[in-house]
Structures are given as C-alpha cells and as structure tokens.
C-alpha cells in the first residue's frame, strides 16, 4: 500500500498527469490514425464501403508497376532537389543582408516573413494571375528585360520550376528567421579576430559564419526535405497536378486515389500502402541526414 502511495505522489506520476492531455491527443489524432492506416495498407478497401478483405502484401506489390505513381515520385524528387538547396541558400543570403543595423530593418524583416503567415490559398490565387502567360505581371516584367514570354504553369516543362518558385516565396521567410537567429548567436569576437588575422569577407564567411550556422543549416535541410517530400497544399489548390500530371506529387496522388477515385472501388488500401512507403522513405532520409549532419556540423559549446 505504501509503495502505491509513494508511486502516486512521486514527481514521476505527477509528470505523467501533466502531460496526459497532450499524450491523449497525440494518441487519438496521431497514433491511432497511423496504426489504422498501417492496417488499411494490408487490406483491399474503399472508404465508403464497409467491406474490407485482407490482401497481404498485394498493395505493396502493386506499387512497382503504376506509371502514374512513378511519375509522381519522379516529380517529388525533382521538386525536392530544386526546392531544398535554393530555399536554404536564398534564405542564408537574405539573412546575412538583414543582419545589420540599417534604417527600417524591422520593416524589411517583417516583409520577408509575411509570406509565411499568408494563407496558401491567397498565395495561390495571386500566383495564378501573376504567372498567367497572357495576362500575368511576371511575363510583362520579364519581357521588359528581354526575357520570355514564359508559359509558367501552362507549359508542362515549366510548371514544376514555377511551383518551386512559388513555394520558395512562401517559405523563404521561415528559413530566413532561423538563419537570422543563428547569425545573431555568432559572437562578435570571432569575426573581429578573423578580421585582425586578415581574413576578407568571403574568408570570414567561409571559415567563421558558415561553420557556426551549421546546426541551423542541418535543421533546415532536414526540415525542408521533409516538407518538400510531403508537398500537397500548393499542388492541390494551384496546379491540381497538371498540366498532364507534371506537378502531381506523391501525397497528392495518394489523396486522389483515396478520396476521389477510390471511394467505391478498393483503392484506399493501395493509397495507404503508398503513404506508408513514403513514410519509411522520409524516416530513413531524416535519419541519414541527421547522422551525416552530426558528423559534419560544429556545435559550439
């Protein structure tokens, strides 16, 4: 009895009590769907019909010969390869530009961050018109400096780069804020010491700034890769996967299978299987990135 009482009054138990609400929420809205999704991926099932048959690994096998999925996977990789480096290097450049004492610096920082808190739909509508090949401001402006005209979302080969540009515009502010925080954490003495040693701007950046923002870079690489592989909102709202499936990405394809085509015919289990494979890929990639990152990144004590 005494042991029970002690266990109940210990800090440990109280701790659990305090986190119980969030644990409960995570269990209901996180863990349960993840597990039922896993179960679904082994079934022949649609979302509207209660009839569900166990299908073993059939859904996972079907992944190998699905040309639309292959296209979506290639598109996703293409998107990630463009999005991650450009957004991170762009953000670093802007963060360095914003990391000084000049007039209106607060305004500039705010301006860079505003797209992050703007709704995707608003951004989407704006870009649809900006990048319209006939009526858009972008072609007009680019035409002014002798470029274009571009088809943007209307030309199959240009749709993905346009999507990358649009999402980078929306995400840049977030990366920039992280880099700004990292830059402001660099002790002044180090740059001064480098200057005394005769290091130029590039050399200071290369040997002082870059290594010291390493942890931020690692965080952003992992974070951006994860979000890039799970891209959905912008595709769903702006391009709808088109033209001709050139911007169809994996999560969007899963959505279409489960919620548009597979309501009455059993495609939901297959969609769940694809989602699970994506989950494993993302997990593995994140682990590899952290493992490599931790060997290369310098954490100052």
């Amino acid at each position: 009895m005494e042991r029970v009482r002690r266990a109940l009054t210990s800090d440990h138990a109280i701790g659990w009590v305090f986190v119980a609400p969030s644990v409960l929420l995570v269990a209901i809205f996180g863990l349960y769907p993840i597990l039922s999704g896993l179960w679904l991926s082994f079934q022949k099932a649609s979302l509207l019909s209660p009839v569900r048959e166990f299908a073993g690994l059939e859904n996972y096998r079907a992944i190998m010969d699905d040309p639309r999925l292959k296209q979506a996977a290639i598109n996703t990789i293409y998107y990630t390869v463009l999005f991650v480096p450009i957004s991170i290097l762009g953000a670093l450049a802007i963060a360095i530009a914003l990391n000084r004492r000049i007039r209106f610096i607060r305004f500039y920082r705010l301006a860079v961050f505003i797209p992050v808190v703007t709704s995707t739909i608003a951004t989407g509508i704006m870009f649809l018109w900006l990048l319209d090949s006939t009526y858009g401001l972008a072609n007009w402006a680019l035409g002014g400096i002798g470029l274009g005209p571009f088809g943007f979302f209307e030309r199959p080969s240009q749709a993905m780069p346009s999507l990358v540009a649009m999402t980078i515009w929306g995400w840049l502010g977030f990366d920039t804020i992280i880099y700004l925080a990292a830059l402001q954490g660099i002790p002044q003495e180090l740059s001064e010491a480098a200057a005394i040693d005769g290091a130029g701007r590039w050399s200071t950046f290369r040997n002082v700034t870059w290594p010291l923002v390493g942890p931020a870079t690692l965080l952003l690489v992992v974070w951006s890769t994860l979000s890039a592989l799970q891209l959905f909102d912008e595709v769903f709202f702006v391009t709808k996967g088109g033209p001709l499936g050139r911007t169809s990405v994996v999560v969007f394809y899963v959505y279409r299978l489960a919620f548009e085509q597979g309501l009455a015919i059993p495609l939901a289990g297959y969609a769940a299987a694809i989602a699970y494979v994506l989950f494993l890929v993302v997990l593995a990639l994140a682990l590899v990135q952290f493992w490599m990152g931790n060997r290369m990144v310098h954490y100052s004590s």
Binding site: Y135, P156, G242, L244
Partner: protein, 435 residues
C-alpha cells in the same frame, strides 16, 4: 504535498469531459419529446463561403418547413463547396456522423451506393405524394443505380454557349445561331481573337478534371460516338467520331490560338466577365458571375445537325441515422422537392425547374427568363439532353484518363488520335479489373 495525487483523477475527468462534451450535430431529438432534429448539408455560397441567392432560397424554404411542422426541425449546414461534398461525406460516414440529407453530384451516386447507411428511396418514390414521374427524366435516371433509386433530383444543368454581344458586334461577327456548326464556331472564335487586346474567342476549362471531360462529351455524342461500348466493357471514345470532336478543340487551341486554355480551371468566369473572352460554354449557374457583360445564350453548335448537350443533375441523398430521423428526413425531402417548392426556388435563383409540371405551367419560362436573362434558353435546352455518362463505380478513373487525353491534345503534346488511343488503352485496363 500529500494531497497532490488527487489532481490525477480530476484532470482525467476534465479531459474526458472535454472529449465527449460536444456532440456537434445535436441530433438526439426524440428522447426529450421535442421535435426530431435532422441535419441538412448543402454546398451553396461562394467558394469563400459567402451567402448567395441559392443559399438564401434554401434557408427560406427550410424556415417555411420548420414553421409549418412542430415535430421536425431541419438544421441547414453549409458543409463545404459542392466540389468537396463527397469527400466531406466520406469522412463523416467513417465517423458515423453522416448528415440526414446531403447535396451530392449525380455522378457520385455509384460511389454512394457502397455506403451501407444510404437510404434506398425506391419504395418512397412510389408514394403518390412524391409524384416521381413528374421529375425530368434525365435527372431521375441519374438517381438510379443498379435498379435502386438513391437520390432525389436537387438541380439540373446543361451546357450552352454564353457569348458577349458587344464583342461580337465590335468585331462584326454574326451572333451564334441555333443551327451553328462547329466549323462556324471555330471560324467565329478565330475572328473574335485579337492578340493586341489579349482577347480570345473562346475559353476552355483544361484542368483535365471532369469539367474538361463533360465539355467534350456532347461533341463526341453529336459526332456519333460514345464513351464506352454498348456493353460497357470497352472504351469507345477513341473512334473516328472521338477524333473528329477533339480535333475541333485542338485546332482552335494549337493552330488558331483562338482558345484560352484555363489549365487550373480558375479564371474563365473572370475572363468572360471582363470581356477578355467572347464565348464560353457553360451552364446556367455561371450567369450570375457575369454582371458586367451584356451576354446572350445559344444552344451548342452541332455536327451534322445534331445539337445535343449534356446534363449534370445533382441529388439530395438521404442517410439513415435511426428510423425516426430517417422518416423525418423523407418527409422533409417530399415537401422540399414538391412542385410548389421547386417553382419558388427556380424563380428565386434561376435554377432550371426540375418538375415537368412546373416547366409546362403557362407563362413560367417567360417569367423565369424575365428575372434571369438567358435561363430560358437553358430551360429549353433540356430537350437537347439525349445521353448520359456511364453510371459506374470506375467512372472517376475513366474521367481522369479522358481528361488527360483531351488536355494532351490541346497542349499539342500528342495528336488527337494518339491521345485518345492512349487513354482508351488505360480505360480498357481499368474496365478489365475485377469489380
């Protein structure tokens, strides 16, 4: 600190209360002796969720019903846009929280047939108070799947040309006429196109969705083709007729440059309303989006004198949430879709009347045309509805394949022939899979 552990059960009780407190649909009428509450989902209003005339008309009728009945209370809820109604319903069904009555596209009926709680309305439809044969045949047919009636017509549309009179007059082009051929249409579009002012003769929804496909379907039918073979086991759109129909659109997009391709299907209405395109092919629902244009409406151009169009009937679908609520829902739907309410709604919103008795009422179409210029032509165009899309569960997949074929041709990525052949091969694969 001795009593701190008492917090534990207290907190759990709180969390438990928070998780179960809000029932959301408030639909447990009956046990209290009050009126039976039923939930009605609709998707009216703008995409941003602002009320419009359709929404208001629905609320007015529901209020009228609620005022006349003390034993039933209908709770109208805007669930989503109609485009997302099926998806939203799927989620609700998974959570056992389906509304009692919901607005759905007619094309969703084969999917909904798989849901166990969908109410079979076949018996209800034989009630003389319902007067089922009075519904327009095209709409009633789309409610029927494998011999079961699963929906009640909520709306019927069809496609026709809507054109900007000013742009036609300015370019000196004759207005569309009921005997226009597609060649006339193409020639007019080319004449109306003016790159200097960025004006197009025609604008087409090219997002490869069902919206793309149903613009193509009537052309296919007019040319003598069909979507599937008669027994429904093979694709049939890759025929000479199919190519002939697609070739008109492809030539306008690629050769003439007289057709604006709206690849995200988001701009057409704005372009027409700002005078940037002279013609669109659309339904009566779009007319309210053109307040700034003096427009005219004309039936579709034809191949070989055939001017048939396509209808898109939408449905009210009833779900079983216990016998009492299901019964109340049926009583409501009976009243709601009776000729008198259809007439009121039609005059308030410009919806085409769903009841034959309303259309045939002397002076009705004139009254409708008076309040909603152009709607009269759409009402008469219902007579040009001859065929329907296949009512099968795999239709959404077939639609995707056809949509992409059409867009591939319009972008000049494939020839019309090649695009349709590729899509037919994919569709045959889909149809060959065991159900």
């Amino acid at each position: 600190m001795k009593k701190t552990w008492l917090i534990a059960p207290l907190l759990f009780a709180l969390v438990a209360a928070a998780c179960t407190g809000d029932d959301g649909d408030g639909g447990d009428g009956g046990d209290g002796g009050g009126p039976v509450e039923i939930v009605l989902w609709h998707g009216y209003g703008s995409a941003q969720g602002e009320p419009d005339a359709e929404w208001q008309s629905l609320l007015d009728r529901v209020d009228e019903f609620n005022a006349s009945r003390s034993d039933i209370r209908v709770l109208p809820i805007r669930c989503c846009t109609n485009d997302k109604a099926l998806e939203k319903l799927t989620v609700a069904l998974q959570g056992d929280e389906a509304p009692d009555v919901t607005y759905q596209y007619g094309s969703s009926i084969p999917q909904l047939a798989a849901a166990p709680s969908v109410v079979d309305l076949t018996e209800w439809s034989q009630d003389p108070d319902v007067d089922w044969p009075d519904f327009i045949p095209g709409a009633a047919a789309a409610a029927t799947y494998e011999g079961r009636i699963l929906g009640v017509p909520a709306l019927i549309d069809n496609l026709a040309i809507v054109y900007n009179k000013e742009l036609f007059d300015a370019a000196g082009v004759d207005h569309p006429s009921p005997d226009w051929t597609w060649d006339d249409f193409r020639a007019a579009a080319a004449e109306l196109t003016d790159p200097a002012t960025q004006t197009f003769g025609f604008a087409f929804p090219a997002d490869a969705s069902e919206d793309t496909v149903w613009h193509y379907d009537p052309m296919l039918w007019q040319a003598g083709g069909s979507i599937l073979s008669e027994d429904g086991t093979q694709a049939a759109f890759d025929s000479e007729a199919g190519v002939r129909a697609l070739e008109v659109l492809r030539a306008m997009a690629v050769d003439d440059g007289s057709m604006y391709l709206d690849l995200q299907n988001a701009k057409i209405d704005d372009l027409f309303n700002t005078g940037k395109t002279a013609m669109v092919i659309t339904g009566p629902w779009a007319l309210s989006a053109y307040p700034d244009v003096d427009y005219g409406v004309e039936v579709l151009p034809g191949f070989d004198g055939d001017h048939q169009t396509i209808a898109g009937p939408d449905m009210w679908v009833v779900f079983d949430n216990g016998e009492e609520r299901a019964q109340a829902a049926l009583e409501f739907v009976t009243w709601f879709t009776a000729p008198e309410q259809i007439r009121t709604d039609s005059l308030a919103t410009g919806h085409l009347p769903l009841r034959i008795s309303v259309i045939e009422e002397p002076g009705f179409t004139d009254e409708l045309e008076g309040s909603f210029p152009g709607v009269g032509v759409f009402a008469e165009n219902l007579a040009n509805v001859k065929q329907a899309r296949p009512v099968i569960a795999t239709y959404p997949q077939i639609s995707v394949a056809m949509g992409e074929a059409i867009v591939a041709a319009l972008l000049g990525e494939k020839t019309s022939q090649q695009a349709l052949a590729d899509a037919a091969e994919e569709v045959n694969g889909i149809l060959a899979l065991p159900a």
